[in-house]
């Protein structure tokens, strides 16, 4: 028995079936997509990006074979575990479809009408979800308009501030220069000086000693001179660490969900808004390392609340949209500095606000909100009947009309209307369509 009978394959690439899996997903794409969209409705915002168990009808992925019809003909079987039967017993059949055990015997390809169940990984789930979606100018915005910088080492230079001096490099250069120009060392000079003292201490020096003294003095003189023009450290030796300012990509995003919760917003409207927020959350989650969500609800005054309260509790009162914007700016200044966070705002409303307030909203958006936001989406939730009436983009409730003025100025502003759940997905796509111009 030789060792080569054993082969350790654990290091071999795994995921050989990945290719096959992708082929399968591609084939069942349409149905998987439908299942994914359906599953979204029952999920809370933050758990939406978990892997997902889905079932799809096995129509497009059926592997049909010729099989016998289970409901026709005679068959003889043998089973184990007899307890009370004897030959000739007759047993009533269970009603059709209730037969237990038999179903499992069905072989691989047979079960044509069954749903096929499997788990999508998180990535697959989201990829399907976000197929060909992209924020407008997302790449431009997140790469070009970078707001934070970091210093990065960028080699060595000959000029710089003293704090950045690279001592090792500088001293090494100085040392080399001193050696090359034969700068006399202090030790050498000290030895000569000591000798000179000794000679001077002699009361009556002889000829040779006087000559030596003279020579030493001359030598010292020369050395001094030499040292003067080869300084210990010369400006030439100086080296500095260089730093460059490198733009830093902001990898965190905060998403503000603003919603009108006054009496005019019913369950249906909130539910529609929730779905829209979910999509936005998912989308951001996909692109940023860290995503925070801030829920701000408002009536005639605004407050920050948790998700549960945001979607499911009711409040009565008037409607002043600008309070929500104020609150949002306050939270933003407090916790989410614009140079560290990408700011996304999604506002849902039925379009009604106190008269005069719309104007104030537009002002606030123009002056404070839009400049710091990556994207501002306004969705107006309509009654299904109203959709007909407001088919024209120019007519609409007060807020809608007021916001119309913003779109031409701010490329990152979008507004749209939703009346039914099935509108959300197309609208979302439109809002974030690759080519934002079409949406405008």
């Amino acid at each position: 028995m030789n060792a080569f009978h054993f082969i350790d394959r654990r290091k071999n690439p795994k995921g050989k079936s990945l290719g096959n899996r992708q082929r399968f997903l591609k084939r069942a794409r349409a149905q998987i997509k439908e299942a994914v969209n359906k599953s979204l409705r029952d999920r809370s915002m933050k758990e939406i990006d978990k892997g997902e168990k889905i079932s799809i009808p096995s129509k497009s992925t059926a592997e049909p074979r010729f099989v016998h019809d289970r409901e026709a003909g005679e068959r003889e079987m043998v089973h184990p575990g007899n307890k009370e039967f004897s030959a000739g017993d007759r047993i009533k059949k269970p009603p059709k479809g209730a037969g237990r055990g038999k179903g499992k015997e069905a072989s691989d390809g047979g079960e044509g009408e069954d749903a096929f169940q499997f788990t999508l990984t998180q990535d697959e789930f989201l990829d399907i979800f976000f197929e060909d979606l992209e924020l407008p100018n997302l790449i431009k915005r997140s790469l070009k308009e970078i707001k934070a910088y970091t210093l990065k080492r960028a080699g060595i230079t000959v000029a710089g501030s003293p704090t950045n001096m690279n001592l090792i490099r500088t001293m090494r250069n100085a040392h080399g220069r001193r050696l090359a120009l034969r700068r006399p060392s202090t030790r050498e000079m000290n030895e000569l000086k000591e000798r000179l003292f000794e000679l001077e201490r002699i009361a009556q020096p002889d000829e040779s000693e006087i000559a030596e003294k003279k020579a030493i003095l001359a030598k010292l003189e020369e050395m001094e001179q030499r040292r003067r023009w080869t300084p210990f450290i010369d400006p030439l030796d100086l080296r500095f660490n260089a730093y460059e300012q490198t733009p830093m990509e902001t990898t965190a995003a905060v998403m503000f969900c603003l919603m009108d919760v006054s009496g005019s917003m019913g369950e249906r409207e909130k539910d529609l808004a929730k779905r829209f927020y979910m999509l936005l959350y998912l989308f951001l989650k996909r692109r940023y390392e860290r995503v925070e969500v801030v829920f701000i609800r408002h009536t005639h005054h605004a407050e920050e609340v948790d998700e549960e309260t945001f979607f499911y509790s009711r409040q009565s009162g008037g409607t002043v949209v600008s309070t929500a914007l104020e609150k949002m700016l306050e939270v933003q200044k407090d916790r989410f500095p614009a140079h560290e966070w990408n700011i996304y705002v999604a506002q849902a409303s039925d379009g009604f606000t106190q008269s005069g307030d719309a104007k104030r909203c537009v002002e606030m958006l123009n002056e404070s909100v839009m400049p710091i936001s990556q994207y501002y989406a306004y969705i107006e939730i309509l009654d299904e009947r109203e959709l007909e009436v407001f088919a024209d983009a120019d007519s609409g409730a007060e807020l809608w009309r007021a916001y119309r003025a913003l779109a031409p100025q701010w490329e990152n502003f979008a507004q749209t209307r939703i009346a039914r759940p099935q509108d959300i997905f197309p609208v979302f796509r439109e809002l974030f369509a690759k080519n934002a111009k079409e949406a405008a």
Partner: protein, 497 residues
């Protein structure tokens, strides 16, 4: 325990395995398998893989070199979910009928499990593959790996050349006929006809060297005349009715291009390769289970594995051969491991310690004391149906409390036709045997006519036994697939036998 730990003869002590321990265990197992049981095996190659790799292998028929197809991805998706959610475990091993025999061990197994798996796969299954007449006659253990390698490369080349969808359409259609794509009675030709593969390679090469972009818009290169004549001569030789639908289509389809014929041929060859396995589930698993049971006990008797190890072995062995009763929620038919193992253990008992009943039923082996030869003869010369018909003993039927049931779809009742008593043994036995007759299970569909000169309609007949007609749910879908391959109308009639 302290005593056993000190035994110098123990092959391993720790539950974790390492390659040295595997080697020691392999050598000890080999000694028993060849020296004591006298098995005859292909050289063994044992590969250690991770659980992910096991999942990968699983979903493509357990073959290491399968071509790519979405259906394997579908099975993978389901297996993966079941595994990750804990609905099902993974097999401890996969073994491939090839020469050398390749067995996969999963790295998560304990040392005892690795020993069990080596005994089970590398000696049990291996012996069966090498000696059983079906495998000897119908499969080509020497050629399968290189053939699969060829198939994989050929198919991926076709995908590059003709597009994924085109290739998928042919494979989908061919897959749906895999059950009707085997020769049941006459021996198929060897896979590795070196000259034919060389011809294909030469043709590909020729196409490459004569590649001219201008001609790409033209239809694909037609079949060379000499090959066409050869093929048509083969078609003339086919005597109708023909049971191998894939073979008939591959040779006679009026629309398939040469590369499409080759794809059909690949699917057909793979179906043929797996056909013996379908007919010998009980025997194959029974043989492997009997062998691992014998070897592990022998190792223990020789003091080579500890009490702890034998307990661990018995625990997993008994779950492998567990047979739930018919009214148990876990029941899903007869467990081939349980039935095969019980029958083979019983053959050993009949040879060594027969009861009077056994002398009456099995006069030539009862008390003969040569169970090794009897079993080896059975493993070599039977398939499930004939093995059960020949060797299922009253003891096994009684132990499993078997009963036979007649079910007529027209009747509101089922009837117990026989039970495990003196009057019923023979009936139970032959009914059980017929359950393992693939001819009874798989619809018998034959090509009865194809008017190749005229309207080219392909006529199929389904020979209906016992009123068991085809399921409407899948019939039309499969017929559509056949039409893809045939290119003209396909009709299927169901006739009573």
């Amino acid at each position: 325990m302290s005593e056993s730990l000190n035994k110098p003869s123990l092959l391993y002590i720790e539950a974790d395995w390492d390659f040295d321990a595997l080697k020691r265990a392999y050598d000890a197992i080999e000694d028993i398998a060849l020296g004591d049981l006298g098995l005859d095996v292909y050289p063994n190659q044992i590969e250690v893989i991770s659980s992910e790799q096991m999942l990968d292998a699983y979903s493509s028929h357990g073959m290491p070199l399968m071509y790519k197809h979405w259906s394997f991805g579908k099975h993978f998706a389901r297996d993966q979910m079941n595994y990750q959610k804990g609905y099902s475990g993974l097999a401890y091993e996969i073994v491939i009928n090839s020469n050398p025999s390749i067995a996969y061990l999963m790295e998560d197994n304990t040392m005892t499990m690795q020993a069990l798996v080596m005994a089970h796969a590398s000696f049990g299954h291996n012996h069966f593959f090498k000696n059983n007449y079906l495998f000897r006659q119908w499969t080509d253990a020497d050629g399968i790996l290189s053939y699969l390698d060829f198939a994989k490369k050929y198919i991926s080349k076709c995908e590059d050349e003709y597009g994924l969808e085109e290739v998928e359409a042919v494979l989908d259609a061919a897959h749906s006929l895999m059950d009707q794509g085997v020769f049941r009675y006459n021996r198929p030709p060897r896979l590795s006809e070196a000259d034919r593969l060389a011809k294909i390679a030469a043709r590909i090469k020729y196409e490459e060297t004569n590649f001219n972009d201008i001609w790409r818009t033209l239809p694909n290169i037609e079949e060379p005349d000499d090959e066409k004549e050869e093929r048509q001569a083969e078609v003339k030789n086919i005597k109708l009715p023909e049971e191998n639908l894939l073979y008939f289509i591959e040779k006679a389809s009026p629309v398939l291009r040469p590369w499409q014929r080759e794809l059909v041929r690949i699917v057909r060859n793979i179906a043929q390769y797996f056909y013996p396995q379908k007919q010998t589930k009980v025997m194959n698993e029974g043989c492997a289970t009997f062998v691992h049971h014998y070897i592990m006990n022998a190792l223990y008797d020789r003091g080579q594995i500890s009490e702890g190890a034998i307990m661990e072995f018995l625990h997993s062995h008994s779950s492998v051969v567990f047979q739930p009763e018919f009214d148990d929620p876990r029941y899903s038919g007869i467990n081939p491991y349980a039935l095969g193992f019980a029958m083979m253990q019983d053959i050993k008992r009949i040879c060594e310690d027969p009861k009077p009943e056994d002398r009456e039923w099995f006069p030539d082996i009862a008390g003969s004391n040569n169970w090794r030869d009897v079993l080896k003869d059975a493993w070599a010369n039977y398939r499930d149906e004939s093995f059960i018909q020949q060797y299922l003993s009253p003891t096994v039927m009684r132990d499993l409390r078997m009963f036979a049931l007649s079910d007529d779809a027209e009747d509101s009742h089922v009837e117990i036709s026989a039970i495990h008593d003196d009057r019923g043994f023979r009936r139970v036995r032959s009914q059980l045997a017929s359950m393992y007759d693939l001819g009874m299970h798989e619809p018998n569909i034959q090509v009865v006519g194809a008017d190749l000169e005229g309207d080219r309609e392909l006529q199929l007949h389904h020979i209906v036994h016992h009123g068991r007609t085809l399921s409407e749910k899948t019939k039309d879908a499969v017929l559509t697939h056949i039409e893809t391959l045939w290119g003209h109308e396909v009709t299927l009639r169901e006739l009573d036998a």
